[in-house]
């Protein structure tokens, strides 16, 4: 497999993983927003999940950008 196809495949996988993580993060995000508009303290577990998913998404986005730049150089 060529380097270009390999990068494209990894990018596609990262995009799919980011989408999945965003979906997972949306659950805790919804709980946090509800607590916010209800003027009550958010559930610490939801907050922890939100932070964890967000951090993981950030890492993968950075990785995605790196791979995208590499692919741009090849095409």
């Amino acid at each position: 497999m060529s380097q270009r196809s390999k990068l494209a495949k990894e990018i596609h996988i990262l995009e799919e993983e980011i989408k999945l993580l965003e979906i997972k993060r949306s659950r805790s995000q919804a709980s946090l927003i509800e607590a916010l508009i209800s003027r009550r303290d958010p559930d610490p577990t939801d907050a922890e999940f939100f932070r964890m998913f967000t951090a993981e998404i950030e890492v993968k986005r950075e990785n995605l950008q790196t791979l995208t730049r590499q692919l741009e150089k090849l095409i």
Binding site: R4, A8, K9, H12, E15, L71, E72, I75
Partner: protein, 694 residues
């Protein structure tokens, strides 16, 4: 007042009359070709023109012009005093006319000795032809030179103080010594060859140049061409009453027309007693001709002659070689000193004679052909002269003209034979060749084995057929001629006309290269045990040379089940009862002096009897059912679906990869486009700012 008017009128009339007189005088001089220049002191002539010696009437000859009655001996015009009062007028196209000035009229001719029948030639005195001023140039005759000569003679009205300009132009050289008579006559060929030629009276010219009558044109070009356009022609126009003959050469132009080219031949260069023209016309072949006489425009004694073309045809007929049995008058022949000929077997074997007609040497193979009716050796051979028809016709035989002696025979092509390998002689390829100068049809070949003086049986005399091949019977002998060395002898038996001739070469019949016949290379069709059929399972083994010995034996036990001897005779055959197993087939041809040995070995199988058809069908059907069962189980267990899903996933992955690459490329292009737009906008803004600042 009236007196003044009358005086004025008288002056005007006087001036008018004076003008008329002057005009009349001017016209008078102009009519007679005399041009008066301005008076002395206002000369407009070229100052670089040569200054002629002053005229001295006491110490002649300082004459500018010379005159001759015979074209050779020229004397000054004023010689003898008779011509003292002459002047030169030049008219028209340069023909010089001598006139006397005191004759009352300018156009009256002068004849120096008073004989009107004699004409004179006038030319410029070469003593006064200066370098660079020759005939064709313009000379200024100084008026002072002629002042005395004009005084006291008839032309008193001529001023002595004028310059007379004389333009002298050279005549064509051909006219210098040629004067034509009233009638042009084509020279008649009295020798009979061109007896049908007609006189050219249809292109007569005007009166001859005699007395004061008008002269004829003085030059003419003549063209003769052959209708068939095949030959050069020479011809002449003869001046009636004169022996002078005027010659022109003619050669064919690109259209096949014979035109006069080059300068006419000066008749003075030809001996007076020769008849050059007639000699040339005699060479014309029989045929129709057209002669065209073209006369160039000419001027003579103030008379202009337009050019003209006259054409007439004439025929040149062949002349008969014989008058009865005798040679016709005019013909003569001469045999060479040694007229004997060596036999050459043709009718053209004759000595070359010299045949003439009225002194004209005729050309062999053009005007006539020589043959003989005695081909063989003899002492009294005849020469037959046959006219070719385009000059002479008929046949004349010179009897007992020469002897024919025997010829020494020789080879035109030495004997040879194309070699071959044993058994492959082909009469159309392996040619026997030889060519004798004489006796070609009696030529025969013989073939001897090396060291043997007796010819090979059947090959004692080999005559080639009309196509140069040996006959079939001898071809069959040559095909089986053993390999080895031989002699080929070629012989022509001599006779009275030529000698015996023989020659020989050695040649070799090469050893043959053996091989199996293409259709019968060693082979045998295998069979199932107990099903041997002698026809179906036939044994093939046939060599190009020799007989194949075939041996079939069991490859393991070496038991021989079939064998033939070296002559192909079957000595063992147990093929029908041979058991199952592998057998070795060997075919061998023993080599000889004539061809190489040959051997081939291969194995074949005798198998057990095969399964019946129904069993084979059952086995195949069972196999197909087993395969279907396996696929059904795989489908049932979802293995096929899984494999199919993997394929689909791989295809999707590939599509995703392509889509990702496309998206990345599109994003990059979009960014570059945005950057370009931003840069453009920045430039526009910068430019707008600069405009405002200005």
């Amino acid at each position: 007042m009236k007196q003044k008017l009358r005086t004025s009128s008288g002056i005007v009339i006087l001036l008018a009359l004076l003008g008329i007189v002057c005009l009349s005088l001017g016209m008078f001089f102009t009519v007679f070709g005399i041009t008066y220049a301005e008076e002395a002191g206002s000369d407009t002539t070229d100052p670089s023109a040569p200054v002629l010696p002053p005229y001295d009437s006491e110490s002649e000859p300082n004459a500018l012009w010379l005159v001759s009655s015979n074209g050779t001996d020229f004397a000054p015009l004023n010689d003898g005093g008779t011509f003292k009062y002459l002047y030169i007028d030049v008219t028209g196209n340069g023909n010089i006319v001598v006139k006397q000035s005191n004759a009352g009229e300018h156009n009256q001719y002068v004849f120096f000795d008073g004989n009107a029948a004699t004409e004179y030639t006038v030319k410029l005195n070469p003593d006064y032809v200066y370098e660079g001023n020759k005939l064709g140039d313009t000379y200024n005759l100084d008026d002072a030179d002629y002042s005395d000569s004009n005084k006291g003679v008839g032309e008193k009205e001529l001023s002595l103080d004028v310059h007379t300009t004389v333009t002298v132009q050279a005549k064509a050289s051909s006219t210098d010594t040629l004067t034509l008579s009233k009638t042009w006559t084509i020279a008649t060929l009295s020798n009979g060859i061109t007896s049908s030629i007609v006189d050219g009276s249809n292109f007569a010219f005007g009166d001859s140049h005699r007395g004061t009558s008008l002269s004829a044109p003085e030059q003419g070009n003549i063209v003769v061409y052959d209708i068939a356009g095949t030959t050069n022609v020479h011809f002449a126009v003869k001046y009636e009453g004169s022996l002078a003959t005027y010659f022109l050469d003619a050669t064919a132009n690109s259209d096949g027309i014979l035109e006069v080219v080059g300068n006419p031949i000066d008749v003075s260069a030809i001996p007076s007693d020769s008849n050059y023209f007639r000699q040339q016309m005699k060479t014309l072949r029989a045929g129709d001709y057209v002669m065209t006489v073209t006369t160039s425009a000419a001027v003579s004694e103030n008379v202009y002659y337009a050019s003209s073309v006259d054409t007439f045809g004439f025929k040149v007929s062949s002349i008969a070689l014989c008058d009865g049995d005798a040679l016709a008058n005019g013909f003569a022949y001469q045999l060479p000193e040694n007229s004997d000929k060596v036999y050459n077997g043709t009718i053209y074997n004759t000595p070359e004679i010299t045949l003439t007609y009225n002194g004209i040497t005729l050309v062999q193979n053009v005007d006539y052909v020589l043959t003989t009716d005695m081909i063989d050796v003899c002492d009294n051979a005849n020469i037959v002269i046959t006219g070719s028809g385009n000059a002479i016709e008929g046949t004349y035989t010179i009897e007992n003209a020469f002897s024919i002696t025997p010829a020494a025979n020789g080879w035109a092509a030495i004997p040879n034979i194309m070699r071959w390998q044993y058994g492959s002689f082909n009469k159309q390829v392996n040619l026997l060749t030889a060519d004798a100068e004489f006796g070609k049809n009696e030529l025969y070949f013989s073939i001897y084995a090396e060291g043997n003086d007796t010819a090979w049986p059947g090959l004692e005399k080999i005559y080639l057929d009309s196509e140069g091949f040996v006959n079939e019977a001898q071809e069959s002998i040559l095909k089986v001629l053993p390999a080895g060395n031989y002699r080929l002898s070629a012989t022509v038996d001599g006779n009275a006309n030529y000698d015996d001739l023989s020659g020989e070469i050695t040649f070799q019949v090469f050893k043959g290269i053996n091989s199996w016949d293409a259709g019968e290379i060693p082979s045998i069709k295998p069979w199932f045990k107990g099903r041997y059929d002698a026809e179906i399972n036939a044994i093939n083994a046939k060599a190009k040379f020799g007989t194949a010995q075939v041996v079939i034996r069991n490859a393991v036990t070496k038991e021989v089940v079939y064998a033939t001897d070296i002559y192909g005779k079957e000595i063992t055959n147990a093929l029908a009862t041979a058991g199952v197993g592998t057998y070795e087939f060997t075919a061998t041809v023993v080599g000889t002096d004539n061809y190489d040995k040959l051997s081939t070995t291969f194995n074949f199988e005798i198998s057990r009897k095969g399964l019946p058809v129904w069993a084979v069908v059952l086995i195949v059907a069972g196999a197909l059912g087993l395969v279907a069962l396996v696929f059904g189980i795989l489908h049932q267990k979802g293995v096929l679906q899984m494999l199919t899903g993997k394929v689909i996933i791989a295809m999707r992955t590939r599509a995703n990869v392509d889509a990702t690459i496309a998206a990345v490329r599109a994003n990059r292009v979009a960014r570059e486009a945005e950057a370009s737009i931003a840069a453009a906008k920045a430039r526009e803004a910068e430019e707008a700012k600069q405009k405002e600042s200005k």
